[in-house]
Amino acid sequence: PTAARSSPSEDPGDYVGSEECMACHEGYQEKLAMTPHGKAGFAALSNRGCETCHGPGGKHIEDPEAYQPLILALSPDEQNEVCQQCHAGGTQFFWQGSMHESRDVTCTTCHGVHSYEAEVNQIKAASVQEQCYSCHKDIRAQAWKRSHHPIREGRISCSDCHNPHGAQSPKMVYAASINEQCYSCHAEKRGPFLWDHAPVREDCTACHTPHGSNHLKLQKTSVPYICQQCHSNTRHPGTLYDRTRLADGTNPANREFSRACLNCHSAIHGSNHPSGWALMR
């Protein structure tokens, strides 16, 4: 790899070797020791040690105050190029042009090379989700809602669905579409069914909000009203379901209480039953 400099226009001097760096920055060796950057195998990729990322230390040794090879002093693009010397493939393959790259987020915004809270992937915060919440505060709030994926319980994380380093898909999901991402866990809904519910095949988020909802099953709007936004047919679909039609109302209707429409149309994601065209079997 080519080495980075604290200022691309400035001559950083010669390489001096990591031992010279440790003569003053001794604490960093211990911190790095348990990370891939501190292992002997790192030499298989670079024999420059600290200077792989920080650039030649010759001038810094000559005058430690005047020349400081700090990565954070570089522009966001220059900082990212330091990391991308090695981390250009894998999940970072589409970093160039990604949403985070275009908004000047840097690798070190989320990852700590020398110090970090989360051991896996050297995340600065205590967990992936906590790191994401530092900017995506609306998602943090949604995760506290009644209906949510097990994110705040730590059973899955944001990066199980989203690739924060960039993807070719909407919302930076790993799969080719949001639906295909959902199918990676909810494969039972993949179909195609004998009788499909058309919007289900197009976009799960037409009805569901993935990060948290006040309603059952991550519904954007509760049943029966979300169904009535499309189905105001004759007879029961177009009926007004108000306070009086609840289970303890004066005129209860099982089209409003419990799972409302889905009490009968429970195969809402599609049915394979020959008699299931109305999604009731």
């Binding site: 990676s184 499909d196 095949r201 009203y225 936004q229 108000d242 289970a247 009490n263």
Partner: protein, 695 residues
């Protein structure tokens, strides 16, 4: 530490906790996705390293050993050569405890209503249901992922990944024999989803290439579930004594992908091509399980609907999905940049169109409305151009135009185009401030809306029964505004402050009926104070306010044209989420960690209907889900020596829900049998003592 052949293996830490849980109700909600039951909780980290300074590394991390939410990782890597990672993640999902269970279960997918009670009068059924057994409803997810990488971070890299998830348990399902005969019962779940991926990657100085194959298979151990009709014991035409519900079919997906990136002459390019084939060929069930029903074919011949008359034995359904994307960008001089984006997603459902001479409605009777299956297909194309301008070294403005086009088969709208303009600001005016802001405005236009498309299932002509003025919101014309402002300030090394607002307004004003408006606004504030390594304090608050407005008209047997039959709902949800926490490490061996989080939602559904029609009045709902969750955590630790830390932990949660849709539910409501599992209010106190050993 043990040393063997130059490889050192050691137990790094052992965590031992003793938990004591006190919960005042049997609500499943507290442990919805976790296992915090009383007892021992153990964790361990075990590391290994070769004597050459760590060229070979090994790690095992175990959390919640033996618990329903245990997680176990194994990593082994030879730096610069290969690595292997194994992850086993157990996730419980509890839907509700103490559910009413009037069903006998000779097999997991056979639910019988006891003979002496089935088909007797409602009073006896009510009495029987009231004394029924209780069960807990939930399932266990066991997820495994194993991945082998060779050559990672090098010019050529290869990987093999294997994933498997088993879901096992019950979740509530309901089905009907008619409007006044709805039953809820446990759906048996035993899913196996298995995936394999083989991938290769080349990364050169000016570009890279990735390619691979991914296979996914879903297997359901239960093809269907059969349940008794509690209100009828003798099977006959128009008198079903049982029903059969088709459960999720086995299916599979084959996916090939090629991805690339390159830098050529000042431009960067990236893109991909993905082909995914999703298919299922599950054996079809008969039209019904009711042996008393006779079906009628297209030629007028009759057949037993419980065993014959199907056009095919298996579904043989298949959808081909082809995705293509290409992005490019370049710098235009020193201060300007240009980005171009293109993406096409083509979902082509090539399943055969099967013709059915009729169907059995709710296992009750033959209906001779001929039906034909509909392979919904669509293509979605996105194009965009973005011009960026570095106003200063630290401030960037960008203007983007994107267009999204939909082309659908068999739906109400064939073509839809949505053009969006977006203006973004990204600035770091000083090392102590970051400002991000954006505003986007878009308009979706569509081709003719054909209400008759909803009748595409029927072989014979039917008159439309949906309101002609209704526009399904995923196909409706609309205007969209999206905005965000986020400010982060770092007045000193110790303080950080952030605040902002964001929102999205979707206006479907051209729709006469259906969704008319959907608006959400967010406000947030956060304060952090970290004067040094020994103290950290934070406070945050977030308010989300969502308003939905929809318009409908009530009809009887035929579509009403009377505006007096109109009704509308204004739905409002206001959710305030806030939290605060302090962590302290005074340096005398003690550590303190205290946090509180509160999420408080107030929802309302306000109805409006003009007098004189039907309906002529409506009663508002003031608990369109009123929910409050308070969580307080306190952890106190004391470091006895370099190897042992001990301490205590306290978690308090208080959850209350006043839900319109669940209020007043009973196991038996006229003609409706419900499980009514308990996932409601709770107050839980968890106390734990722990010891952490650094070995």
């Amino acid at each position: 530490p043990a040393e063997d052949d130059g490889f050192r293996l050691w137990v790094d830490t052992v965590d031992l906790w003793v938990l004591e849980l006190d919960q005042d109700t049997k609500s499943s909600k507290f442990q919805e996705y976790r296992d915090l039951g009383s007892g021992l909780w153990a964790g361990m980290k075990l590391y290994g390293e070769s004597a050459d300074g760590g060229n070979r590394n090994f790690a095992i991390r175990l959390k919640g050993i033996g618990r329903e939410d245990g997680r176990y990782n194994l990593d082994y890597r030879v730096e610069g050569k290969y690595s292997f990672a194994l992850d086993y993640n157990k996730i419980p999902h509890r839907f509700g405890n103490d559910a009413n269970m009037p069903w006998d279960r000779p097999a997991l997918n056979r639910l019988e209503f006891p003979d002496p009670v089935q088909g007797v009068d409602q009073d006896e059924i009510l009495a029987f249901v009231a004394s029924a057994d209780r069960i807990n409803l939930g399932l266990q997810r066991d997820r495994t992922r194993a991945q082998f990488d060779r050559g990672k971070l090098q010019r050529w890299a290869w990987s093999v990944a294997y994933t498997h998830e088993n879901r096992n348990g019950d979740r509530p399902l309901s089905a009907a024999f008619g409007f006044g005969n709805v039953q809820e019962f446990p759906e048996p779940i035993n899913y196996d989803t298995t995936g394999v991926e083989l991938a290769g990657e080349f990364n050169g100085d000016n570009g890279g290439l990735r390619f691979g194959y991914r296979y996914s298979e879903f297997e359901n151990q239960f093809g269907s579930v059969v349940w008794d009709n509690p209100f009828n014991a003798v099977e006959a035409d128009r008198n079903p004594s049982r029903g059969r519900y088709d459960l999720a079919p086995n299916n599979e997906a084959d996916l090939f992908f090629v991805e690339g990136r390159a830098r050529v002459g000042g431009w960067w390019f990236n893109g991909n091509l993905v082909q995914n084939t999703m298919s299922q060929s599950d054996q079809l069930l008969p039209y019904t399980i009711n042996t008393g029903i006779e079906g009628e074919g297209f030629d007028g011949s009759t057949f037993p609907a419980a065993g014959a008359g199907l056009p095919v034995a298996r579904a043989n359904n298949e959808a081909e999905v082809l995705t293509f994307s290409l992005n490019a960008g370049t710098a235009l001089g020193e201060d300007w940049s240009l980005t171009l984006r293109y993406r096409n997603y083509d979902y082509d459902n090539s399943s055969p169109r099967l013709r059915f001479p009729g169907y059995v409605r709710l296992d009750e009777r033959w209906n001779d409305d001929g039906l034909i299956t509909v392979p919904y297909s669509y293509a979605r194309e996105n194009m965009g151009i973005e011009l960026g301008w570095d106003v200063t070294d630290t401030t960037n403005l960008s203007l983007a135009w994107t267009t999204e086009s939909w082309e659908r088969d068999f739906r109400e709208v064939r073509d839809a185009d949505e053009d969006t303009f977006k203006l973004s600001l990204n600035s770091r005016p000083s090392k102590k401030a970051t400002v991000r802001a954006s505003w986007a405005t878009g308009e979706r236009t569509t081709s003719e809306y054909i209400t008759e498309a909803q009748l595409v299932f029927f072989l014979d002509p039917h008159s439309i029964d949906n309101l002609p003025g209704l526009r399904k919101y995923d196909q409706a014309e609309r205007d969209v505004d999206d905005y965000e402002v986020a400010v982060q300030l770092y007045p000193s090394d110790a303080w950080n402050v952030s605040f902002g607002f964001s929102g999205r307004d979707e206006d479907y004003g051209k729709s006469e009926f259906g969704l008319i408006a959907d608006e959400v606004g967010n406000l947030n504030f956060e304060l952090g104070y970290t004067p040094g390594a020994h103290l950290n304090f934070y406070l945050f608050a977030h308010d989300e306010d969502r308003d939905v407005f929809q318009q409908n008209r009530q009809s009887g047997r035929s579509i009403s044209t009377d505006p007096a039959d109109n009704w509308s709902i204004a739905l409002n949800e206001d959710t305030l989420t806030w939290g605060a926490g302090v962590s302290s490490d005074p340096g005398n061996g003690w550590t303190f960690d205290l946090s509180i989080n509160i999420s408080d939602t107030d929802g309302e559904a306000d109805f409006t209907t003009p007098p004189g029609g039907s309906p002529s009045e409506a009663v508002d709902i003031d608990n369109y889900e009123d929910i409050e969750l308070t969580a307080v955590r306190l952890k106190v630790g004391y470091k006895l020596n370099d190897r042992v830390t001990c301490g205590a932990y306290y978690l308090h949660e208080n959850y209350t829900i006043n839900s319109f849709i669940l209020q007043g539910l009973q196991p038996f409501l006229a003609g409706t049998l419900l499980l009514v599992p308990n996932d409601g209010d709770y107050r839980a106190n968890l106390v734990a003592v722990y010891a952490k050993f650094k070995i």
